[in-house]
Amino acid sequence: MSLYATGNQTVGPYLHIGLNWLVTRNIAPRGVPGERVTIQGRVLDGDGVGVNDAMIEIWQANAHGRYAHPEDTQKKPLHRRFRGFGRIPTDARGAFRFTTIKPGPVPGPGATQAPHLVVSVFMRGLLKHLATRIYFPDEPANRRDPLLRLVPEARRGTLIARPKGKGTLEWNVILQGKDETVFFDF
């Protein structure tokens, strides 16, 4: 039997009604080992205006570089209290902020992937969610990362968070324009 996937639709302006129950701003509960980091930023539209009705979701490996998922069969430890999922709505200014631990490197096609978070972006006006990634600054593995290498050099910076004080990084979702964030099609 062969079927076609159902059509995606926008979340619309009232997404919070259905999705806020699972808002997770702290992805790594206390006791989960790893280097703690806070990531903050804004979602900006084509006019540079903050998108106040967006939501991002994060999926990541633990500090050892293992995903809490049966298809990750690496012999690395799992942590019972770490799912690796975050869901964060934007505020009135289009800003978001969440805390997690820096993931370890994970296997990739051809080369190990540099530590990264995968991100889904949802909002009114997006008929299908967008997929992007957050990489970490000052990470030598970024140079060899198989996905970053696919991105034109001038645009790679949109995927790499910037240091913003102790334990805090900044990363923005810019939907249009000169600094438009790189989005992936898998």
Binding site: M1, L3, Y4, A5, T6, G7, N8, Q9, T10, V11, G12, P13, Y14, L15, H16, I17, G18, L22, D45, G46, D47, V49, D53, W59, A61, Y67, H69, E71, D72, T73, R83, G84, V106, P107, G108, P109, Q113, H116, V118, S120, M123, R124, G125, L126, L127, H129, L130, A131, L147, L150, V151, L175, Q176, G177, E180, V182, F183, F184, D185, F186
Partner: protein, 236 residues
Amino acid sequence: MKTLRGYRRYHPGTQPDYDYPPYRSTEKRHPTQPLVIAPQTLSELTGPLFGWDDVKPTDHDLTRQHKGTPIGERIIVSGRVLDENGRPVPNTLVEIWQANAAGRYPHQADQHDAPLDPNFSGAGRTLTDAEGRYRFVTIRPGEYPWRNHYNAWRPAHLHFSLFGQAFLTRMITQMYFPGDPLLTYDPMFTCIADENARQRLISTFDWETTIPEHALGYRFDIVLRGRDATPMENRK
């Protein structure tokens, strides 16, 4: 690591474009650069999994979240979550949200002059069973105006959010009702180019799940991306 098996790409015409001028909000919110086509890696072939620790068994019934009974026509919305190979997607989280019977959302951004219902919040969630089945009890949502174009009205709909078993299978969609005259004029519905794909967003009346003297049943099956036949390393 054992061999990873990737997911099929979406069939042409079955998915909306990001830039769709009839839906005005896409204008400033669609990417203008082409998406970067990337290989599916362990990061995308895995994804968050949820269970009954996350969801209460009663979360599927939107008519019993308050002291009183919500106003409106009680309905049963059920169906199966399948992949493109026709296999059920078991134990996956399904979230829904919707307007009340008068076409109003309890949300500060909704200024439509229609009554709120103190007995209806409009959100539910559940997990599919081993055969991919889900079931919600709710009330039929009302149509409502929006400001996309002159005299614009949204057809009655339920929003659905699904995860499947990978980051790649994440899906947000909307379910519509059969025979709704507003569908033809609705850019959310028409944004899907393929006529058959569009029709699959419309639920069907389901006599089997209709409860005598209690509630009409509507069936809505959802298909998530399915696995490719060929393991990734064998693909050119």
